[in-house]
């Protein structure tokens, strides 16, 4: 039975695997495209500064750069932990 199962198995072909990996990778790389090179470093340093005051996860911060006709908008989004035990954020409900 095991022997026959081997042939019947629906394991993805290597080509299907290649396609899936490429789709994920390329979507990610396209999202990064056109953004300034310094964004990842800026994000890292901002994270370090914030961590002096609040304990946040690595993925709690996102830095985005958007562009329209006459201006560029740098967006920094930081998700703070919702339990208000952190000193500075103690007033939070």
């Amino acid at each position: 039975m095991g022997f026959l199962d081997y042939f019947r198995s629906t394991r993805p072909t290597s080509a299907a695997l290649a396609k899936e990996r490429l789709q994920i990778l390329i979507a990610h790389e396209r999202a990064q495209r056109g953004k300034p090179d310094y964004l990842p470093r800026l994000q890292q340093e901002l994270l370090e500064v914030i961590r002096k005051y609040v304990s946040v996860d690595d993925d709690a911060i996102s830095v985005t750069m958007e562009q329209d006709d006459n201006r560029e908008i740098l967006g920094v989004n930081i998700i703070l932990p919702d339990d208000g035990e952190q000193g500075r954020r103690s007033g939070q409900d």
Partner: protein, 269 residues
């Protein structure tokens, strides 16, 4: 005004020079006055693939530096009167290519040619970015293989942002996918990305599919652009590519495993 075509890929060894040689020869054979330029300064190879390596006197960098005129450096192809080759220099460093210098040469060529094919080096360094800077059309040569597809996508990003057309806000470079070294047998077995897979990932207009073929190595061995081997599958596929590029409606071939025997003959039409 010549139409400037860059043959690019990012990744090396996928068939850029083979394609440049084939497309330029194909255009010339269709009666179009065509020049093909090797942008791979330091590692020239187009001359060898075109079979004119012993006729190189002056090169691209000589022309840019004013050490030779364009007419002195252009090598006229012995098989087709409409085709001229501008070889890359072998020794100088690649800093000798400048935006202005390349621009001037292309401008001069534009006066006398209908098509200028720029054979890009691999990578994303100066030679590659300059080869595509002035382009009107880009042929993105891709193998059905992960690293090549990824690099092609990277080149598409560069084409869209770093070309003269992009900088001037003009109409974008026309981008075409040329899938090379395609093996329908392996695609059928699920061992190779299919043409549809690659098109879906890159979302590019498909200019053609060149099957994996012994004729490509045979052609380069003898310094004959493979398109001249019109008995070979790769040569015919390149012939189709050129006619398609020039606007003819040519159905894609060599996408299926070749059928053998009576059954095959019946269905091949």
């Amino acid at each position: 005004m010549a139409r400037i075509i860059v043959v690019t890929s990012g990744k090396g060894g996928v068939g850029k020079t083979t394609t440049s040689a084939a497309i330029s020869m194909g255009l010339a054979m269709q009666g179009k006055r065509t020049a093909v330029i090797d942008f791979d300064v330091g590692l020239r190879n187009l001359d060898l693939i075109m079979g004119c390596e012993r006729r190189v006197v002056y090169d691209f960098v000589n022309v840019i530096n004013g050490e030779a005129s364009l007419n002195q450096a252009l090598i006229k192809d012995k098989r087709c009167d409409n085709l001229f080759i501008l070889p890359a220099s072998q020794t100088r460093d690649k800093d000798s290519l400048t935006v202005e210098g390349v621009g001037k040469v292309l401008e001069n060529l534009s006066e006398n040619f209908e098509f200028v094919v720029c054979d890009s080096p691999a990578g994303i360094e100066r030679g590659a970015t300059l080869a595509m800077y002035y382009a009107d059309d880009a042929v993105v040569v891709t193998n059905p293989e992960v690293s090549s597809v990824r690099d092609s996508d990277r080149m598409l990003g560069i084409l869209a942002s770093k070309s003269r057309r992009a900088e001037r806000g003009e109409e974008a470079i026309k981008e075409y996918l040329l899938l090379t070294r395609y093996s329908p047998q392996r695609v059928k077995l699920g061992e190779m990305l299919s043409v549809e897979d690659v098109q879906e990932i890159l979302s590019l207009h498909l200019l053609g599919v060149i099957p994996e073929s012994k004729s490509v190595l045979n052609a380069s061995n003898s310094g004959t652009p493979v398109i001249l081997d019109d008995k070979s599958d790769a040569g015919q596929a390149y012939g189709d590519v050129v006619r398609r590029y020039l606007g003819e409606e040519v159905p894609h071939r060599f996408l299926e495993e070749e059928k053998k025997g009576l059954f095959g003959r019946l269905f091949r039409g």
